[in-house]
Point group: C2
Chain length 447, copies 2
């Protein structure tokens, strides 16, 4: 047979040990998000393309997975003269968790005004796979809808900061900027308004392509080198947040700029009372690729990791794209795969137990008696596997040890007659005969 | 704007109350599956079509979701003369959890010989949506690979039976049959071997179309009415399992029939020692649609539910379709949506708490002080929301009550000066002023 048994490129199988680590992290995230008053939401894997397209920029639209029409709809499409992508699909896979939230917020009129939701689900992007970058990956989002209050910005930063702290990250930085401020900086550099999008895209790549790269890219699009250099100078952070705020205030005096600087100052001030304290750093060069941000924007960076561990921002216009009502919103998304990658490299996981506590091994007894004994042990809260075949006892014990199961429970005629079981601790090699009813206590006490 | 905000047909949004109920059920399933020694596995949403096609029968192949090629691959496909479905896609969405397990079993050589895994994930089928039938739905599978021992059959039946029992189902029946037996019955009815598949498909519909329907369908395919009637007679269950076994033994005498009757007898006998005791019923008419079964087959039915709540069986040939090695396997799949549907209709859910414990309401204090107080309460294990805007206190309390949050924590100048908080129980209307540090104890004690 020649069917490949590997998962498709960019996709992964999660074996039991992987899942144990993933669940450990997800459990912390859920607990901290819930402590911050967020409630869970899940949205379908498949969305209408009308929901997805036009929200993520041109690059995003190209990375969407589209579902091929079936049967009659496919036949009708293929009968067309000049059939193209748009004729062949009208549904696609979830690309992020923010656009589905905006759709949900517009759809359900009964949601509380300040609907605060968290969502931990996979998303799909047909991107080129690389280290820590997959085509199916989990995002862990918190969003607060319904308010323009900057308490919301402080709360989402607090939630993600506490998650990282509890997972054992000490040094992490939340880069902070403001979309309106960045627009004002572009304007102050003398770059024409119609080139704003181009300038945002170029600035977003600063870390990757360097200053000369940004200048070259902007020059190609007709922005003068003088303007580019001025912009690069304006978006340079000073040594401290306070010094950066002062520098920005000195460079800009439009109403929008004054307001966005005041917003940033307030988020920094509020965050001094939260888990984000000491982790926020003003970074006027931060652009964030996605098209829908309108206010504060965030990105989390840690040492030794290219790219970010998460990001977010305020998007006051997105919900209004789906309904009549404009509903302001701000959110933060943690990337599960990046967190796991770094935790793995730095050995940050605590000891995590997985798999059965005990394997029932047997000799000269009926299989029905095994199942009965397993039932008794399971009622004591133990995770019990049964060796399914009548092999030699030594072979059964060897298998149990190889599988990493800490205890073997041996049942033979002697045990059966006395209503007992022989419990063998495979690591220590000690074995004890005891009443079946007491095995649970012994094993729980020792593990 | 004219974008629909509903999820696509057959897809659902899960709001917080839905998720609370879903998690309750999933938690029970995970606990019982782990008690039975199963370990978790997750496989990707997207699989190669080569993995998926040809495993589920013709109908299954038609219900697969296929992913449209992108960019160059799409262009190349559309440049072809007579482009069809096969040119436009080579990946699709997971259709069940058994075929991915078979692929995984063939791929990873280090898995334990008796790899017992559980998997709780959504699958996708482009079926016509109906009551309790969705296009995205969760399956909860247990499978034991690597053994032909019937202890494995007994274990998967025990696991799903204990799940249903713990969820509060008292009357449920696991219909039990054997694929080899059914083949022998078809043969004994005088139906030609090449019509065996046709007969299986027709028998599978017996519940829906009745005896006359089965006879008509088989007649159309050239099976004589005599043979059809004989088959219908042979597959009729007697009053008890024992009587059915006797009836089958009297009707059949081939080696295969004797062996499969012995298998069924043993599974029934072993199950008397497990949680499945009293729930298994021999049902020789059970066929199970999927193509890959080779031995015992199961299906769970409950009163007031059309269709099954789950099913499974032995499939000793499937892993071998992916690798050189034939690895026997048996599994059982519970349908989460069906379980939830029945539990909902019968009011079987215990009281489940959801959402924040307390809303911080405020008046005349700084927002930074609110965030600080929230931090203190969260450290006590409480789920804390902050009213994000400076509205009148009455309005804040009203919102909190409407949102179903049981406690309001009021912070005003007086509280702030004394380092206290006023905790109001909104249901009882009682309020108490206390140290911030003590609020956690009060709230946990009362909820």
């Amino acid at each position: 047979m020649s069917i490949s048994t590997k998962p498709p490129s960019g996709m992964r199988d999660f074996l039991p040990a992987d899942i144990t680590r993933r669940r450990h992290v997800i459990k912390v995230i859920e607990r901290i998000y819930e402590a911050h008053g967020f409630v869970p939401l899940e949205t379908p894997t498949i969305e209408n393309l009308a929901t997805l397209t036009g929200k993520y920029g041109d690059e995003g639209d190209q990375l969407l997975y589209r579902l091929l029409h079936r049967r009659d709809a496919l036949k009708r499409a293929l009968d067309k003269e000049d059939v193209g992508e748009a004729d062949l699909a009208d549904q696609g896979l979830r690309y992020d968790l923010t656009v589905p939230l905006a759709r949900v917020r517009a759809q359900y009129k009964d949601l509380p005004r300040f609907f605060k939701r968290y969502q931990i689900q996979p998303v799909w992007r047909a991107d080129r796979p690389a280290r820590g970058r997959f085509r199916e990956f989990y995002q862990c989002d918190v969003d607060i809808t319904g308010t323009e209050s900057l308490v919301a910005e402080a709360e989402v930063c607090s939630a993600v900061s506490q998650v990282l702290t509890e997972l054992g990250f000490e040094k992490f930085t939340i880069l902070l900027n403001h979309r309106q401020l960045l627009r004002q900086l572009i304007k102050a550099a003398g770059i024409a308004e119609e080139m704003e999008g181009t300038a945002l895209v170029a600035v977003d790549k600063l870390d990757k392509i360097g200053e000369e790269g940004v200048i070259a890219e902007l020059s190609e699009r007709g922005v003068s080198d003088d303007s580019s250099r001025k912009l690069l100078d304006l978006i340079k952070a000073a040594d401290s947040n306070e010094a950066t705020l002062e520098k920005l205030s000195a460079s800009l005096d439009t109403e929008e700029a004054v307001q966005s600087i005041a917003d940033l100052r307030k988020v920094l001030e509020l965050s001094q009372s939260t888990a984000a304290s000491g982790h926020l750093r003003l970074h006027p060069a931060l652009a964030r690729g996605l098209g829908y941000y309108t206010g504060c924007i965030f990105e989390i960076v840690v040492e030794d990791l290219n790219g970010s561990m998460g990001g977010g921002g305020r998007y006051d216009g997105l919900v209004g794209m789906f309904g009549k009502e404009q509903i302001p919103a701000v959110g933060f998304s943690l990337g599960l795969e990046r967190i796991l990658l770094v935790m793995d490299e730095r050995n940050m996981f605590p000891p995590l137990s997985e798999g059965p506590d005990i394997m029932l091994c047997w000799m000269g007894v009926e299989e029905a008696q095994l199942l009965k004994a397993a039932n008794v042990l399971r009622k004591q809260g133990l995770k019990v596997e049964i060796y399914p075949e009548g092999k030699k006892l030594g072979k059964q014990l060897q298998y149990t040890d190889n599988a990493g199961i800490p205890y073997a429970g041996i049942l033979a005629e002697e045990e059966l007659e006395g209503g007992t079981i022989t419990i063998k601790n495979l690591k220590e090699g000690i074995q004890t005969n005891m009443a079946l009813q007491e095995a649970g206590n012994l094993i729980r006490r020792r593990s």
